[in-house]
């Protein structure tokens, strides 16, 4: 594809880049710069001091401190039977991210299979709500997890009934991995389902006609087409869980600290050089991963025709289907999903209508109403928070959709350096919320002096910008695979008939990839609604509080006694509002579907 003469697209690329420079590269750069400069001079000493510190790099610190001894050390280690070595903070963080990724794939993949290949009542609804975990503030999820998996939680109650247990899960790595699966398995499900639904049925049928077994057809035709999405999801999960912070803090405490937990503590202590150095190393690692993945994805994608998707089989189809091992497996899977996903959310809803002593109550919802009608200064009112969340979400969506599509168009071009360009455009995924929030605060919010004028960006504008930056990579992650699957001949035919590149994109390609576009839109919206860290940093007044911010403030309100009642009530409202929003996005978007 050539861009030649295509002004609109060029403008789109320029606008995307400009936005990114202003609200991402400049603020983040200002933080990371302090990792490589001391007193205005370039230096590697902050990096070296972190890499040489066994606390951070464990046994690997000798790679920096005494590289000459490494071969001898390795030999001695092998001789003594390869005992476990100290991993350091980075090593431990990578280890838990790896476990979390494996768990997320294990939980998410069967879900994609179920949603893509089977028809059952409520399938569309289930598919829509797979996005819900993205909007749930981690403190709420942590509370739900404790209520579900804690010492006196629901799981142990259930196990007790059948004479098993109790299981001690709280404050363990296992529970953190489970919680990470709660957040990221739906991502795996979502991305893989979208890819699986786009598999061309004609090619599968051709393979079968040529004598391939169903397994062979899956391996040779279907798998290559869903693998990029699975890898995307895995890389994203690894990056997210590598940067994991609030959940680790709430469910595992300091004993299971990750790099991000440590980075946050350094920020709190205003040890900004060390924090920036950790941020730089973390960013380099994740960015490297994203780049490696993008190269891989580019090799994987194969063009396909405009064909139809695979037909879904009914989940329940007569009595015979009840003894089908595949269906029995899915049934067992459903039970696991109920415990893992519905359990914590149900505990949240139940806590919002029961007192600590187990009595039914509506006083927490009455509390929300009283906050709404309160005239007191500094009261966080629920309704403006709901409205703000929806408005910011819509604003972020309006900004993130075009940005994401522009990035996808760049990604599907085969030009030199387009992988690198894509990596640069996808970089926000690899930067932790804390680094971005800190950078934005120090530059845009406090203001920066340009030509003698102090420029500040505060309030809703900054929040929408931050949310859009966080959300657009999800648009492009959804749209890119679909876009590259569109038959080039369609575009070429249109262009031969006189359409320019932009017209091809808007009139032909985008309608063809509508499901992916809608999925991306839902992601961008979900991320905006659930975003907390940068919102709270950027929203100084109550006027720009969102639902998660309101929820966090209600956690601090103890006027109703020793419980999370008010916060769980707000959490339930958050859950309801966002469920409705996603179902609406999905249904409205669905009208374009073939």
């Amino acid at each position: 594809m050539r861009v030649g003469g295509d002004r609109a697209l060029l403008i789109g690329v320029a606008a995307t880049l400009l936005t990114l420079v202003a609200v991402f590269y400049y603020p983040v750069g200002s933080v990371l710069a302090s990792a490589v400069s001391v007193g205005g001079r370039l230096t590697l000493s902050p990096l070296v001091s972190v890499l040489a510190d066994p606390f951070y790099t464990g046994a690997f610190h000798s790679l920096v401190t005494a590289p000459a001894t490494v071969p001898r050390g390795l030999a001695r280690w092998a001789e003594s039977g390869m005992p476990s070595v100290r991993l350091g903070l980075f090593g431990f963080t990578a280890y838990q991210a790896l476990l979390s990724t494996l768990a997320s794939v294990a939980v998410g993949l069967p879900g994609a299979y179920l949603l893509a290949r089977f028809e059952f009542p409520g399938r569309r609804f289930v598919r829509s709500v797979t996005i819900l975990p993205f909007v749930l503030p981690s403190i709420m999820v942590a509370v739900g997890f404790l209520a579900m998996f804690g010492r006196s939680g629901l799981l142990n109650d259930l196990l007790g009934v059948v004479g098993l247990g109790p299981v001690e899960l709280t404050f363990t790595l296992e529970l953190i991995v489970l919680a990470h699966a709660f957040y990221n398995a739906p991502l795996v499900t979502r991305l893989v389902t979208t890819a699986w639904e786009s598999v061309d049925a004609n090619r599968v049928e051709t393979a079968r006609t040529l004598g391939a077994t169903p397994y062979r057809a899956f391996r040779d035709v279907t798998l290559p087409q869903i693998l990029p999405a699975l890898l995307t999801a895995s890389v994203l999960t690894f990056v997210f869980t590598f940067m994991s912070f609030p959940l680790v803090l709430a469910l595992g405490g300091l004993q299971l600290a990750t790099v991000e937990v440590w980075l946050y503590a350094r920020v709190q202590d205003l040890a900004l050089t060390e924090a920036a150095t950790l941020g730089a190393l973390e960013t380099a690692l994740s960015l490297g991963l994203v780049y490696v993945y993008l190269r891989f994805e580019a090799m994987q994608i194969s063009a396909r025709g405009e064909g139809r998707g695979l037909a879904r089989t009914p989940l329940v189809d007569g009595w015979r289907s009840l003894i089908d091992p595949r269906r029995l497996g899915l049934l067992a899977y459903g039970a696991v999903v109920l415990v893992l996903f519905v359990g914590p959310l149900a505990s949240l809803v139940i806590e919002s209508v029961t007192t600590p002593s187990g009595r039914l109550t509506l006083e927490y919802y009455a509390f929300l109403l009283s906050q709404q009608s309160s005239a007191a200064a500094g009261t966080t009112r629920p309704l403006p928070a709901i409205v703000n969340s929806l408005l910011f979400g819509a604003g972020a969506l309006l900004l993130a959709l075009p940005m994401g599509v522009v990035v996808s168009v760049v990604a599907t071009r085969d030009g030199r350096g387009s992988r690198l360009a894509e990596a640069l455009l996808t970089a926000p995924l690899a930067v932790s919320g804390i680094v971005l929030g800190l950078g934005m605060l120090r530059t845009l919010v406090f203001g920066t002096t340009v030509f003698g004028h102090r420029i500040t960006l505060t309030g809703p504008v900054a929040i929408v910008a931050a949310h859009a930056v966080a959300g657009y990579p999800f648009v492009s992650r959804n749209v890119t695979p679909a876009l590259s699957g569109v038959d080039d001949r369609l575009g070429e035919a249109a262009r031969a008939l006189g359409a320019d590149r932009t017209a091809v994109l808007t009139d032909i390609e985008l309608p063809l990839v509508a499901p992916a576009l809608v999925a991306g839109a839902a992601f961008a919206f979900a991320i905006s609604v659930g975003e907390f860290d940068s919102t709270v940093l950027l929203a100084e007044g109550l006027d720009s509080a969102t639902m998660p911010v309101a929820l966090e403030r209600y956690i601090g309100n103890r006027s109703l006694g020793p419980n999370l009642g008010p916060a769980t009530a707000m959490g339930t409202v958050l859950l309801a509002v966002t469920t409705v929003s996603f179902v609406v996005i999905d249904r409205v978007g669905g009208r374009w579907e073939r």
């Binding site: 606390f55 100290r86 350091g88 903070l89 403190i139 942590a142 509370v143 404790l146 209520a147 804690g150 010492r151 006196s152 939680g153 709280t170 404050f171 609030p246 803090l249 709430a250 405490g253 300091l254 004993q255 600290a257 440590w262 946050y264 503590a265 709190q268 202590d269 205003l270 040890a271 007192t355 600590p356 002593s357 009283s370 906050q371 309160s374 007191a376 200064a377 500094g378 009261t379 966080t380 605060l441 120090r442 406090f446 203001g447 709270v536 940093l537 100084e540 007044g541 109550l542 966090e552 403030r553 956690i555 601090g556 309100n557 103890r558 006027s559 006694g561 020793p562 419980n563 999370l564």
Partner: protein, 370 residues
């Protein structure tokens, strides 16, 4: 529970007070000691300056039925030409340290809710002065209990204090008596504390343990606590929630716990206060006028209003903290349920200065590499 809601009560107990009392009004003030922004002199409660007073504080100090909201209404009704506005940045005083160091406008007159450790951080991070020395010129400042005054340079005026203690379930464990007893098998997997890096009660508990075990012995003590199954959670809220979910029978909290948690359907046996070694760690909260305040005079008038007897009693009840001014007794439910430790301990500003950051980081490294 908001990170800052419960905390911010550091302070000066019995040990530090003689030294501190001697420092009040000392001319060795590194800031230069004298306030230059306006004419000076004590400001009376019936002041004359009007306009908008911008108060930076933590978010749970404001809102329905809070101390902050009571102060706003009461001050505004006393002074018809005044409006009080709140700023509640989530990063607390760090927000203003960074603003100052970046040359950004401060946009507030007064900071409410500062403790000793935070003041040490302010002074360590900034060469320019963030707060003005005002204690000489605020009516009522001399009635603040001398044991609570923690700023040797007269900038921060305490307005209330809390005491860190254990809260325990007497149905599950015997009352823990000493720090050393927490290492016993009877208390295995029994204690939840907060992360001293970002939680005030957690920080106060760590400092208290350093007071007890010494700077040479505290890391070893904590290693043995970890071996006995202590859990270190991020902050007061998740820690207390885990305690309520019966994950452990003891949690680090405040000696005013029962003021919140009394009532007919509350099991008070789960809200017992344990004063280890018959002590509690005092954590006073203070207020200070920004040096760059647009309305410094009004800020000082508000500060002396906060120290008035009526305001002190209201703050104690609504913020669930002990008053800072001598002779104020809130009475009522507060008087009945708020417990004071037999002995209050704390580190002084001088003792924390130059040390607190290192103590906490070494502690955190020890825990995180377990």
């Amino acid at each position: 529970m908001k990170r800052r809601a419960f905390l911010s009560r550091a302070g000066v107990g019995v040990t530090g007070l003689a030294a501190l009392a001697g420092c009040m009004g000392d001319s060795s003030d590194p800031d230069g000691g004298t306030e230059t922004t306006d004419s000076g002199g004590k400001t009376g409660t019936a002041g004359s300056s009007g306009g908008t007073l911008t108060v930076a504080t933590y978010s749970s100090f404001t809102g329905e039925d809070t101390a902050g909201n009571w102060l706003k209404s009461a001050f505004e009704s006393e002074r018809s030409d005044v409006t009080v506005e709140f700023r509640t940045p989530d990063s607390g005083v760090n927000q203003y340290i960074q603003r100052k160091s970046q040359g950004a406008p401060i946009d507030a007159d007064l900071f409410v809710g500062l403790n000793t450790g935070e003041l040490v951080r302010v002074d360590q991070q900034l060469d320019d002065r963030l707060f003005a020395a005002t204690s000489e010129r605020i009516e009522g400042a001399d009635s603040v209990k001398s044991s609570l005054r923690f700023d040797p340079n007269g900038r921060v005026i305490p307005y209330d204090t809390g005491y860190i203690s254990l809260v325990y379930d007497e149905g599950a464990v015997d009352e823990p008596q000493t720090f050393d007893s927490l290492l016993e098998p009877a208390y295995e997997d029994g204690l939840i504390v907060q992360n001293a890096q970002q939680s005030d009660p957690g920080r106060a508990f760590l400092l208290w343990s350093i007071k007890q075990q010494g700077t040479d012995g505290y890391l070893d003590y904590w290693q043995r606590l970890v071996d006995n199954g202590v859990q270190i959670l991020s902050d007061w809220e998740p820690a207390y929630q885990a305690y309520m979910n019966e994950e452990a029978p003891m949690v680090v909290s405040y000696s005013t716990d029962q003021v919140y948690y009394h009532g007919e359907d509350v099991d008070m046996s789960r809200h017992q206060i344990g004063f280890l070694n018959d002590q509690g760690y005092a954590n006073p909260e203070g207020m200070a006028q920004f040096a760059d305040a647009e309305n410094p005079e009004l800020a000082r008038e508000f500060m002396s209003f906060v120290l008035s007897e009526e305001a002190q009693a209201e703050i104690a009840v609504r913020n669930v903290q002990f008053p800072a001014v001598e002779g104020v007794e809130p009475g009522g439910t507060f008087g009945k349920y708020a417990l004071e430790p037999p002995e209050a301990v704390t580190f002084s500003y001088e003792e924390l200065s130059g040390n607190v950051g290192g103590w906490i980081e070494e502690w955190a490294r020890q825990i995180a590499s377990n």
